[in-house]
Subunit: 227 residues, 4 copies
DNA sequence: TATGAATGAGTCTTCATTCAT
DNA sequence: CATGAATGAAGACTCATTCAT
């Protein structure tokens, strides 16, 4: 690269933590929102700045570069939600279905409060090639994921959880059903077949699927029923 | 010669169907693959050309511009898979769980043959702001979706399908669990908690979740058991 | 950095050697000239492009980036001159003063033909922090420099070369006197004390200094004379 | 308050002479050093500020703008050295070789005390397009230069100075040999042929070259000796 | 005196697109 | 069919400069 100038750190640059929280927060909000709506790759620094009513140079002033902006979004937005959703897991309650119910509850709640959550997660974390993936990977609560899987496996051994399901995939199924439904919410309005579904209906549906899928099945095959 | 040809239609331009099918197909493959891996917004015409070993100018020669390339990807790649997955639905078989089983089967089969399917769908069709969304919307098999939902509703009325689930959301749940698991496959290898799962295990798990979720539940609450 | 796009090499990019020599050469000329006149750090890609009558994008088309443009200037302009100036050294002729005379001759000749030589060398190669320094260092003809120094040392031992001079610094002195005089040529016209000197006068002066400085001095101190 | 102050002169602005000499001097030092090391064009106000541990705004506070900072560097740093080097010339001593010896002595002495001298002079004053050139031109000691040239010419007429040299170029030769050697000092360590030379060796060499070049040559050609 | 916030202008670089050959 | 040359528009990033505090 041989930039034309050497690099000496300048005092006075706001470091990720302090300094005029107002605009910084506004920019993070703008960024998170645009990233969710358009995807990270399709969002320019200029769009983010414009949404906050400032010049693109201000985005660089506060985050130094695109990369560190992504870091900030992860640190100060995404991780916060993960913490909230997974927080209670691993201490106290250990009944598998109740754990899952809690996760579902908190996930829906978070998505309601932070509408950027489903699209952003789906596209940039869970999806292959997502731009937050590498950043998130080391910060995923893998211990808690593991713990949940173990509780489910315990349940299977104890005969209270459907032995056909794979404990390690349960959370992924929960995420898939939830996020996909939420991320496609705006789509429904325009597909006649799906019009007019409420968030509550959605949550109830996902819970029914999970509860049914995880519970011990009746004796015979798939057409079930207890007679 | 012919200085200043208008935009209309140049003689000798290949119309979407004939003309050296080889390269055209190669370019579509390259495009589809890169779109899936990096996202559409992050993929340049040059990258597509390079992957096929030609110049960017050739991509324009074959598709005229970026927009029509996306159209072609939708028409000649994505729709083909949708057609295959939904083809058998709506005629013959009408038993809900069997319908779902068929869709799942064909979806997994397609994902195996076209590995670009899960990421591309997740990111560019299902997700908010996906770049193929608008293009796909009018071409979704909404009639068939509707028909599936009605069969499930029939099942609920007949007492053979879990009345707590929402028939219109079942396919979305199926998609969510399937695509998400497949799209995250490469991620598992690196999360200790999820290492070493096979595609078969995954398919069995999803089926167990669906079958369990859709079947009539035993009498009481979520901890199940039949008496 | 995380550029928004991956890098796949594109065919069709001209590689440093072939491809439309015209504009490439023109751009190299423009670059070399501007670098000499304004310094590398103060010269923008846009200025180079403008001087050749094209858009800045063309400079990138031909050289990919600023760094490789510098490489090209070194390879295809500067090294060529070095080769010419030092070419004959090390074979045949070994009489020290004749060697020096040859170097001086060829240096002046080169500077006449390539007026960018003195300023560019002075600023970007010889001077501390010069932007071509690191690039040139491994390519300097150090073997030949060494060889010249050894011939001078031989001369000193044989009593034909002034024992007070440092053989290893002789070429640097030659360079200093020559380049500085040439680089300041345009300055002379404006300093009354120096007006109206010709290149020939200059060359004769430098030669006189070198010849006098290198030759065996008369017996006594600095006010000389043979009496 | 006082909204919209004009450009004229703000009360409380430090005028080039008083006001917290500490920081002002520090900034000038930082600027001079960076200019010498990287070149003026490549040095930003921010780098200068950073090196002095303050914000870029402070540099503007003290120097108003980049241009006036350059003026200050010339006035308060560069001219000081010129004054010292040329001070004694023109009064008293008039023996040409002794004059030259004095200049050489003081130049080396200055370079030792102000290591920024050689690179800065070479790049920004002597070299074509140097950014201090125009600023320095009217302030060069041209009368003294002229006077030195005349004394040398006197010597030629009197038969004590080599008639082949050009009196007006002698100082340039001195400068060239000295500055170039000093500016390349850091380079030597890395060119095997030049490793390990000391400043004293250098000074002795330059003096030998000058003394030899300026002294009356023996009768014959370049291989010299007094027979 | 000193700073943090803010900006406008500019620089390098990329990219879709065009076109003559 | 295919390419190399060329461009305009845009994007990330830098920097001198201003200003309220």
């Amino acid at each position: 690269m041989t930039p034309r100038t050497g690099k000496i750190r300048q005092p006075g640059r706001p470091s990720a933590s302090q300094a005029h929280p107002d605009l910084r927060e506004q920019l993070l909000d703008a960024a998170t929102g645009l990233f969710a709506r358009q995807g990270i790759a399709a969002t320019t620094m200029g769009q983010i700045a414009a949404q906050a009513g400032v010049t693109p140079a201000m985005v660089h002033y506060h985050f130094t570069n695109r990369d560190q902006l992504l870091d900030a979004v992860v640190d100060e937005r995404v991780m916060r939600v993960i913490g909230y959703v997974w927080g209670p897991v691993g201490q106290g309650e250990a009944e598998p279905l109740a754990l899952v119910a809690g996760l579902l509850e908190r996930l829906f709640e978070s998505a309601e409060r932070q509408p950027w959550l489903p699209p952003l997660w789906l596209r940039e974390v869970l999806n292959e090639g997502g731009q937050l993936r590498e950043r998130m990977l080391p910060r995923l609560p893998s211990a808690k994921l593991q713990w949940l899987a173990e509780r489910l496996a315990d349940g299977q051994r104890a005969g209270s959880v459907n032995p056909a399901i794979e404990p390690r995939l349960v959370f992924l199924s929960l995420l898939g059903m939830t996020l996909l439904s939420l991320a496609t919410a705006s789509l429904w309005q325009r597909v006649p077949a799906l019009e007019g579904l409420s968030r509550e209906q959605l949550q109830r549906h996902v819970w029914a699927m999970l509860a049914g899928g995880l519970s011990m099945p009746p004796e015979e095959g798939h057409s079930g029923g207890c007679r």
